[in-house]
């Protein structure tokens, strides 16, 4: 196995009395693709937000390219709190460099393509803005054209506002924006869930092509096992904040060992789908868990 580009270990996050993420650890190989599967409340989205730095873990570490991410984040946060005119200029530029370096480690694509772009900015401007921040010396117009081409959009879309584009086109733009930073890891949080089936297939194929072309690693957060099968090498199944099963995607889907994974698989509509059976299995699982939990 190749050197891991992303190492998540012992992640824990508590909201009030609710343990959202409970001792979550996994690694992703360089250029690899990991699926994180779970239902609502499984903690998969919180895990994603911790990886990209939108949330901070109560315990555990996230390392990308061998660099400890959360540690650096905490330092930056400490400095942020004391923000004011007295803060030296050098500290500010140091923080800026740190922020940019963190952004180049990992980027994220969000679920809702209708809300993940600034509604006022034309697509080209939005891309140029990212390029100006991260690659100030580059040839921006040429790179914008290249990025749009990579995600299957033409220069006509560069002048359009988000509202002039379809959901699939917007999601392509969101992917282009993430790629503009040139990250090592891309976190996709239900990135195709809001799209129509025919558009979803286009985006999934695009993502597969980009991985082959750029060697970028994916963390694919999703509830859809069909999607997992389509774009990931490995998978972890999360339930109530904890990982209940992990392994190569083909193996887990063909021969699940945990009863919850089996329930998930059985719940996917297809030949032999029996809602009564699924309902019974779900109740049985909940009861078995209730017995295990100490009162």
């Amino acid at each position: 196995m190749a050197e891991p580009v992303l190492e998540v270990s012992g992640l824990r996050k508590v909201f009030g009395s609710q343990v959202a993420v409970d001792d979550v650890s996994f690694t992703v190989a360089a250029g690899g693709s990991l699926g994180v599967v779970g239902e609502s409340g499984s903690g998969k989205t919180t895990t994603a937000r911790i990886i990209v730095g939108l949330d901070h873990a109560d315990a555990g570490t996230v390392r990308i390219d061998g660099r400890d991410r959360d540690h650096a984040g905490r330092k930056a946060r400490g400095a942020d709190a004391g923000r004011g005119p007295s803060v030296a200029r050098s500290a500010r530029s140091g923080r800026r460099a740190e922020r940019l370096a963190r952004a180049r480690q990992v980027q994220m694509v969000f679920q809702d393509p209708f809300l993940s772009l600034d509604p006022r900015l034309p697509i080209g401007t939005a891309l140029t803005e990212v390029l100006r921040l991260h690659h100030p010396d580059g040839d921006h117009p040429a790179r914008v054209t290249e990025l749009l081409d990579q995600v299957g959009l033409g220069t006509r879309e560069a002048t359009a506002l988000p509202r002039g584009l379809s959901g699939g086109q917007r999601q392509r733009v969101a992917i282009a924006k993430a790629l503009a930073v040139e990250p090592s890891v891309l976190v996709l949080d239900e990135a195709v869930a809001a799209l129509d089936v025919s558009v979803q297939a286009q985006i999934l194929n695009l993502l597969a092509d980009l991985r082959a072309e750029l060697g970028i690693a994916y963390v694919f957060i999703t509830h859809d096992l069909g999607v997992v099968r389509c774009v990931t090498d490995e998978v972890v199944v999360m339930r109530r904040g904890a990982i209940v099963e992990r392994g190569a995607t083909d193996m887990v889907l063909a021969d699940p060992s945990h009863s919850y994974t089996r329930l998930l698989l059985e719940s996917v509509p297809g030949p032999g789908w029996d809602p009564q059976l699924i309902t019974a299995a779900r109740r049985a699982l909940a009861e078995a868990e209730a017995e295990l939990t100490p009162r």
């Binding site: 025919s198 999934l204 859809d224 999607v227 329930l263 719940s267 789908w273």
Partner: protein, 339 residues
């Protein structure tokens, strides 16, 4: 059209009967719905499948007389033998409170967050004078029991319930007036996949108990295939294929149905690249001369772009239609045999 097949059940009129429904919106080049024919018999489940913009939601809403502002409609929409399109406001209100009911995708959007569930359930029955408070409460209790919720839910507020529980409440509410027709617009899309199974099981159970006709609107062809008796596939305002669920799924007659099946990432298909439908759904500003799918269809010939295919019966298949010039000469891959 398909009168030969329809006359197989002449003794019973259809619960929902839509014929030649055409709906136009101001400022568009083509009608949103362009001659939709749809039948749902008593106790039957029909799934209306399509992508966003296909007109599936509009079709289901037309059954309740809910058309967008400024829309003009022609054709026939009958619910339980009553013509919906010619109804006045009062008759429409009665239709919506007693004859037909609708379940929406997001249960939270359809319920007043500051009212207790009990008030919500009994409101419609009490305000239209169909029942007094005691009777309405008794009915609410019976239905809560039927959807598998405890009595205490009556005194709870919507925010205290999970999405799945709330969707059960919405189902109970829709059945309060004992409707003959239930319209479900993506009722499980916002729910987890295991919860989806539970809601479907519940809908099936209730449907067989109360004999309600169900029109199930969904984008998920797989789900449609497992829950419905019959499937109708919509594209760009027209129904392109109808037929018995398993047959449409296993042996699609319209290239769009086949392409949709091939584009769905599935567990029983080989991993790797998905078959893609190129391009996108034509928007309402473009006029369509021939078949709406011709521009994206792998099997299209010149004729497809010029003349609109008529809806024709599928040979050797009961109550099945397809609107494609080439369907008789094509062999298309279905859901089960893809490999």
């Amino acid at each position: 059209m398909n009168t030969a097949q329809r006359s197989q059940t002449p003794q019973k009129s259809q619960t929902l009967h839509i014929r030649g429904l055409r709906v136009s919106l101001p400022g568009t080049a083509r009608p949103v719905l362009d001659g939709v024919d749809l039948e749902v018999g008593a106790g039957q489940t029909v799934a209306l499948v399509g992508e966003s913009g296909s007109g599936k939601t509009l079709t289901s809403r037309a059954a309740l007389g809910m058309l967008p502002a400024g829309a003009t409609a022609s054709g026939v929409v009958e619910v339980d033998g009553q013509d919906v399109l010619t109804m006045d406001a009062r008759a429409l209100r009665r239709l919506r409170t007693t004859t037909a009911a609708m379940i929406f995708q997001d249960p939270r959007a359809g319920i007043n967050p500051v009212r207790r569930v009990g008030d919500f359930l009994t409101e419609a029955l009490r305000t239209n004078g169909a029942a007094d408070k005691r009777t309405a409460r008794k009915r609410a209790l019976a239905l809560l029991d039927a959807v598998g919720l405890p009595e205490r839910v009556l005194r709870q507020y919507p925010h205290e319930l999970s999405g799945g529980m709330l969707q059960r409440v919405m189902i109970a509410a829709s059945l309060m007036a004992d409707p003959v027709l239930l319209l479900a617009d993506e009722p499980t899309t916002a729910l987890d996949v295991t919860t989806q199974a539970e809601i479907i099981a519940l809908l099936r159970d209730l449907q067989s108990r109360f004999g309600t006709a169900l029109l199930f609107v969904t984008h998920d062809l797989e789900l449609a295939a497992v829950i419905a008796d019959r499937v109708a596939v919509m594209y760009a305002g027209r129904i392109v294929e109808t037929g018995p669920a398993e047959q449409v799924f296993a042996d699609p007659k319209h290239p769009y149905t086949a392409a949709l099946l091939a584009a769905t990432p599935r567990l029983d298909a080989p991993a790797g690249r998905l078959a893609v439908i190129p391009g996108r759904v034509p928007d309402l500003r473009t006029e369509i001369a021939g078949c709406a799918f011709a521009g994206r269809c792998a099997h299209a010939v010149d004729a497809c772009g010029q003349e609109r295919p008529e809806t024709a019966a599928v040979p050797d298949r009961s109550q099945a239609t397809v609107a494609c010039w080439r369907s008789s000469t094509l062999t298309l891959q279905g859901g089960a045999s893809r490999g």
